[in-house]
Symmetry: C2
Subunit: 435 residues, 2 copies
């Protein structure tokens, strides 16, 4: 669904020009052609004379944010039952709620709330877990397709260690349901499937190996969870005595990335140097989920080490371990928890800066989708316009200060996102009144 | 300014009935008489027949929240420069901004923004640092008085280790300015002064001792900072070789509470068992400021220990170390950081639960002001009505679930507070449309 129209936005452009720097250009023109950024200009060049311009003078214009890890069916219970740790919370909250998505009427009602809020948010692309249910997953995909956002959506696989009713009855049954779901993935132009084994404790070896074969057969990417919580890591150690670690257990089952097998692993809080090296060698994206790792008492991931060692990384909201889908908020959370890691855990650690966290939310996660997450020619025209006028200031702030402040002050994107484009198509908001 | 009118609110009442429990009563009547809660009823008793009722059916009604520690002049730079640690941040951000409040025109403009937002928030009472400037402090007090909230406001004292222009030139000059400010505190009915030595590094011994004498003379309460950050704690150790610790240093200078000397100490992140015992013995309130302690890389205070050991405690937004004045958000932050303390620092620690954090935000901090922070007969009628309809849910949540969720989802109180009363007087919002 590439848009053929050419148009421009005018406003204060902010772009991460490197992992450590954000540049801003006030009241510049950002031109879109064929769904991509065509150029950035202080004044429109002659060749664009008469171009349609949305004039967002003084507003902040940033690359769309990328959510590399979230669970759509958990949206209803975000911010509820937050006094539980991961494995207890899975049993008390997650599994009962996910069971409801066998009912298409419930799935429709609940997914609609998630999709509406995601559409109104600063997120332009996302990688999303659904549930084990093929029909419910397709329903979610159809709702997402209608928004114009670009997403990867996965029917979850799990054939062990979860309640009856939610557990797939065998590896074969799970793989067959996956194929059935994939066959149903037709008519989508920007909503694509992704293979989604929940995590090793939920998936038998035959299931993981079957999904690995399916990945090689179809070329589909994979998303899962890795090294989130000490009790989970210990459980995997017991389940996989063959492996030297959690990451190695995925590797031995053929599900840890590698050439032509793009893969996202969420969390990686307890990835030691060996596991981080494995992730880098296999080109696996880490989805850093600071809010969830706090709420579920998991810990604080070594994001600085991933950055320095060159492991691809983006941010994840991880609903409903995370309580908000706001990646603006995730940027602030990333800085906050990295400070606590330095203070409480590792005095040699260097906390992440705001530009670094912004980079992860844009270009970092965007790289999973290709040339995404920058306001640079050749990148997808995924763009968000932010209005911070609800937060007046007695002095004049520059655009970078305004952006930092907004990431801290906002945890409901709906209050600040006034316009959103994905691949050049308008997804949320309306043109400014002055047009 | 006790209100003489008798009226009632109807809605879903939530009250912390103990530090570990929240009870809720849906669509009950909460009656106000003479600025106090007179009773709670499922139906209005005969003696209240014909009473004026604001019918907030289905909305959440909670005790007003108490902010035990914040800095009004720092509101403009909340969420800015968050990549700095405490002492650097004081020099780079705080002191330059506070210098501006020598100019009454700037103070008026900047304080107005703070006071408007505080008025619209779920906070009904607050203890507030101003700056060293007597006139600016009175100006802030007049703005606060006009809102109807109950506050304690302090002109800051500091005569060392801060920039020229902001530094008071001697202990005598600082004390004289304080007396001048106190003489100006006339015509206030619910805005009262509080003595406010910034912290030991900013105050010479003669100044601290002079303030101690002033406290005994006037009976005024005191607010200051204690054991916030390792570098600050070390600095105080060097400045006060006579003391066995930071708390003891205040004690020896006559400024650590005691009978008839109500005192709030903010942070207390590094208060060891001896210092905590001192705080309990002296009846000092701890203002727990989780967001600030995260942003300024200070650490995580041992809130569980304070609770168990019976040290009075409430929550503080600590602008602009904290980036939002929302105490709803501070409740969620309290739970979050306590989980990280358990995970990263002390495996014997028990994270705080949501009801415990809510208790701190209401009855905990409220106790500093007397019978405040409960929806119980005899308590001040400080009440907030919350509207969570911006967060629809596919199922039916109970009132306690809705309150927990709102604390996690909201960080801008203005989006959810629809009505606020302090001592029975309407402070924000309007009666519901149905009236």
């Amino acid at each position: 669904m590439k848009q053929n129209t050419t148009f421009a936005l005018r406003g204060n452009l902010l772009d991460g020009t490197s992992p450590t720097q954000i540049h801003f250009l006030d009241n510049y023109y950002l031109v879109c052609e064929n769904g991509q950024v065509a150029g950035i200009f202080p004044r429109l060049p002659q060749k664009y004379a008469g171009l349609q311009v949305e004039n967002w003078e003084g507003r902040l214009i940033i690359p769309g944010l990328v959510d590399l890890h979230t669970h759509a069916p958990q949206y209803p219970f975000r911010g509820l039952g937050m006094d539980l740790e991961l494995l207890d919370w899975l049993n008390a909250r997650t599994f009962p709620e996910e069971s409801r998505y066998a009912d298409p009427a419930y799935a429709q009602r609940a997914y609609q709330l998630f999709v509406e809020d995601l559409k109104s948010s600063a997120t332009t692309r996302a990688c999303i877990f659904a549930t084990v249910h093929p029909e419910g997953t397709l329903l979610l995909m159809r709702l997402l397709e209608a928004t114009g956002m670009v997403t990867r959506v996965g029917k979850v696989n799990m054939d062990r260690n979860c309640p009856e009713g939610l557990r797939e009855l065998s590896a074969e049954a799970s793989l067959a349901a996956t194929r059935k779901w994939l066959e149903g993935c037709v008519g989508f132009s920007h909503t694509r499937p992704i293979l989604t084994p929940r995590f090793i404790p939920s998936c038998s070896d035959p299931l993981l190996e079957g999904l690995s074969a399916l990945q090689r057969e179809t070329g589909l990417p994979v998303q899962s969870h890795l090294s989130e919580n000490p009790s989970e890591v210990e459980w995997v150690r017991q389940l996989c005595p063959d492996a030297i670690g959690y990451g190695d257990a995925y590797l031995r089952r053929g599900l840890l990335g590698g050439l032509g097998c793009p893969t996202i692993m969420a969390h990686c809080v307890y990835s030691d140097a060996a596991e981080r090296r494995l992730l880098r060698e296999q080109g696996v994206w880490v989805a850093h989920c600071p809010q969830s790792n706090t709420n579920l008492t998991s810990g604080i991931a070594p994001a600085r080490a991933f950055l320095e060692e060159g492991v691809p990384m983006g941010l994840g909201s991880d609903l409903a371990g995370g309580h908000t889908l706001s990646i603006l908020r995730a940027i602030a959370d990333t800085v906050q928890v990295s400070k606590l890691r330095w203070r409480l855990q590792d005095s040699a650690y260097r906390p992440l800066t705001f530009p670094e966290a912004f980079w992860l939310a844009t270009a970092g996660g965007g790289s999973f989708f290709g040339r995404v997450g920058r306001l640079q020619p050749g990148y997808a025209f995924d763009v968000v316009v932010l209005d911070d006028s609800a937060y007046p200031h007695p002095q004049q702030l520059n655009s970078l200060e305004r952006l930092e402040r907004l990431c801290y002050l906002c945890s409901d994107d709906r209050q600040v996102v006034v316009r959103k484009f994905v691949e050049g198509n308008p997804v949320a908001g309306s043109p400014p009144a002055s047009l």
